[in-house]
Symmetry: C2
Subunit: 107 residues, 2 copies
């Protein structure tokens, strides 16, 4: 996954409410009106959280009748975990440091 996408996705996951939403969606699709009583926060707050999760492709939405059901995008969650085990190669940064004589070498 592209570096900045990964950072954005991790930031989206790094909020207790959103992380718990992800854990709940891992068990069962949910609509906003179910999440409201679970978290005890307002409906617009839940909507905003869903919007952030949607923006980083962690959830998808499907309208069913008057409800919008959100589903976990397991592929994306896996990709995030995988990306953490395959971090980008920034060795050029150290080459640059060396060229500038800024590499610190102890003894």
């Amino acid at each position: 996954m592209e570096f900045h996408k990964l950072a954005d996705a991790l930031k989206a996951l790094g909020d207790p409410t959103r992380l718990k939403i992800i854990a709940l969606l891992n068990m069962r699709d949910c609509c906003v009106c179910e999440l409201v009583p679970i978290f005890g926060i307002s409906q617009p707050s839940i909507s905003k959280h869903m919007s952030r999760l949607k923006n980083v492709d962690l959830v998808t939405e499907t309208r069913r009748g008057q409800w919008v059901f959100y589903s976990l995008n397991r592929k994306q969650l896996e990709d995030i975990g995988f990306s953490l085990t395959r971090l980008p190669d920034f060795s050029s940064e150290f080459d640059e440091l060396e060229r500038q004589g800024l590499l610190v070498t102890c003894e």
Copy 2:
């Protein structure tokens, strides 16, 4: 990993500067004064980022002479990735919803 620890760790990773620091430490231990020219931000800013990473056990520090070298805690990074594949079971929340007659069931 405990749920709130996981959220805190993800939040720490969800910043482009800190995520890149983690990627750099994955290649080689670094001291603060090496990171300063790489990012082009002030020394105290780098120190603060290291402090946040230390607080969630993603890095450890070792003083070598006048420098403090930071190392990636690979175990913790792996634990985070693994935790994303083993999210906590919140089924009791759905049981509670059902008791309150708030579960939404479409057809």
